[in-house]
């Protein structure tokens, strides 16, 4: 069924009110001009959010990553009378740019940012604080995934799903057991040389070196960054075949690589697609790796507050949440999902629900002052690998 969306335009709220269809067409040039001016000027005003009043609105606008929610869940939620409109973004930067530029008039109610970006978004006033009274099902979440360092007390967000980073290798090409990031780097520069795929993510690539050398992956020390640059660019880069964040989903069935740095749920997708899953081994490497979390949050300026709270609360129900896990292939952090997975004959549960011991040792990535240098290191690696 196709819902007819309201016309939305990225214009200041004052002009949005008087924007008819005709004005929209004939006034494009004027809007172009004013938005150029708006981009130059630094305005601070924010359109206010609506307050929850107990009357659930008939619509809800969600801005999320593409194909990131089970359509059957959305359909059953819509039976309550609220139609849900999904738009998708491709990166946190895109999300932030749009919310920042519209200053509360984006029209989106629910957004799905990644944990490491939340302090920045909160600081810039892009998020509405959550009123936990409207989220009765928050108790269903495993405490491991509450109260994260980037959002103490879940002031702004609730866990949508989370994952971690590890590596997967072809046991026909690498005949020894790899367990640590040190092993990964060693195999990458020997048996797997020229057959290695790294994630196209500056933090993740640098983390392989930091973790292997017992350095905090969120380090901002100059000496650490210099050491990482030296090793990654001069030693590792010439052995790398590709920097590709989705390499693993096709790389396993097509056997394009023998060693791949990868997110856990993506490895599961790759294994489900291959006819030789036994040839591959996935490792949650020691001593640490990223714990990334995507989160439900309410955008500043949201107009459908009641529907937004109702949707988030609905998605936190265990049976709804399990359907989400089954669809997206990542854990949603709800309690007892692993037991439900067993009951439903869920394949490769170990790739979605790692042991508690693994989870304890993970380090959430931070966006900090080293971010620019990490990007520069990755770019230097790519240039080196291509020369």
């Amino acid at each position: 069924m196709v819902e007819r969306p309201d016309i939305r335009a990225l214009v200041p709220r004052a002009s949005a009110a008087r924007l008819s269809r005709r004005a929209f067409l004939s006034g494009l040039v004027v809007i172009g001009g004013t938005s150029v001016l708006a981009a130059c000027a630094k305005s601070t005003g924010f359109a206010p959010s609506a307050l929850p009043d107990g009357r659930v609105e008939g619509k809800l606008n969600v801005y999320s990553w593409g194909d990131y929610d089970d359509p059957s869940n959305i359909r059953s939620f819509q039976k309550s009378g609220t139609s849900v409109q999904f738009d998708s973004f491709g990166s946190n930067e895109e999300l932030i740019a749009k919310l920042g530029a519209t200053r509360g008039t984006s029209g989106y109610d629910i957004i799905v940012p990644t944990g490491s970006y939340i302090p920045m978004m909160a600081k810039n006033g892009l998020l509405e604080p959550l009123d936990h009274r409207y989220l009765k099902n928050m108790g269903n979440i495993d405490p491991l995934y509450l109260d994260q360092s980037w959002d103490p007390g879940n002031k702004y967000t609730v866990c949508k799903d989370w994952g971690t980073t590890g590596f997967v290798y072809d046991t026909r090409a690498i005949k020894r057991d790899l367990l640590t990031w040190g092993d990964f780097l060693d195999a990458a520069t020997t048996e797997a040389s020229k057959n290695v795929a790294l994630l196209e993510d500056p933090w993740e690539v640098a983390c392989t070196f930091f973790a292997a050398n017992g350095i905090d992956p969120n380090t901002t020390k100059k000496a650490d960054l210099e050491a990482a640059n030296e090793y990654l660019v001069n030693t590792l880069a010439p052995h790398v075949k590709a920097f590709n964040s989705v390499a693993v989903t096709s790389g396993i069935p097509e056997e394009t690589f023998t060693l791949m740095q990868a997110f856990n749920g993506d490895v599961r997708q790759g294994l489900l697609a291959t006819d030789k899953p036994d040839a591959w081994k996935f490792v949650y490497p020691t001593p640490t790796a990223n714990l990334w979390m995507d989160n439900w949050a309410i955008a500043r300026g949201a107009q459908n507050m009641d529907a937004a709270y109702q949707f988030i609360d609905y998605i936190l129900k265990p049976e709804v949440s399990f359907r989400e896990v089954d669809y997206i292939g990542y854990s949603t952090g709800i309690k007892d999902l692993a037991a439900m997975a067993k009951k439903h004959d869920f394949s490769y549960p170990e790739l979605v629900f790692p042991d508690a011991e693994v989870i304890q040792r993970l380090t959430p990535a931070e966006v900090n002052s080293s971010a620019g240098e990490l990007v520069a290191i990755l770019n230097r690696m790519m240039a080196k690998a291509g020369s």
Binding site: V29, G32, E93, A242, F243, P253, G372, A383
Partner: protein
Amino acid sequence: MARRKVNGYAAIGFPTWAYVVFFFIVPLALVLWYSFGYKPDLFTAHANDILSFDRYAEALDATFVGTFWNTLRIGVIGTLLCLIIALPFAYWLAVKMNPKWRPLALALVLVPFWTNFLVRTLGWQIVLSPRGFLSDALQNLGIIHGRLDILYTQSAVQLGVVYNYLPLMILPLYVAIDRAGRPLREASADLGANRWKTLFTVTLPLAVPGIASGCLLVFIPLMGDYITASVLGGAQGNMIGQLVASQFNTAQNWALGSAMAVLLMVFTAAAVIVFGAAGLIIRSLVRRSRRVQLQGGAA
């Protein structure tokens, strides 16, 4: 009266100049303006209260220069390959083909071009995969031993850009050759030239503007392309567009990204000027060697 006339032309031209101003001059000026700024802190993409050329110094490091040469090589080889493939095809289309079938042939060129760029490029991932059908077929025919190892190499990028930009070469060439027209070719034959001589002295010289515009249409977007390289290229086929994209998307450093974009534009324009000058020199040499001396007339 004259003044009113000028205003009248300005009004008629409104869509054109408004388009140029708002979608070309203003964005370009913004990029230029940002490139003189800096990234003030982690959460801000750019600031322009202090202006400097520092971002250009920062952008022009060994990474940028090395990647630029890599990109230039892919761009030049890609453009030449497109030309070599498109020229016989466009000639056949304009001269040899039954005009009845021409719309169909043009549609076959254009329809893939309307398909989403990313989807078309991803399609090659499947074709080139080591366990894909092409790999199997080549192995069965004994052409390669062991699996096809092209995906995530520079060859894959080269192939991808030729595939993606080929229609942009075929169309102007087709138009240019078509415009040369049958009467001129017939006249050439009547005057005793054989087919090759007609091709090299009549059809091709008249197609030169088409060749030039086809080369520009392929070369310029190709230099800024980063989708083909990031989908098919892997580490070996890194292109400069990816560096610019990483500054805007990942590093959130619009100042440095803008400086890189400006440098890319300047260098690409310089390359076009160099190749254009070389083309003009070659053309004048060819003309000189072929100059027709009329009996009794001055040269």
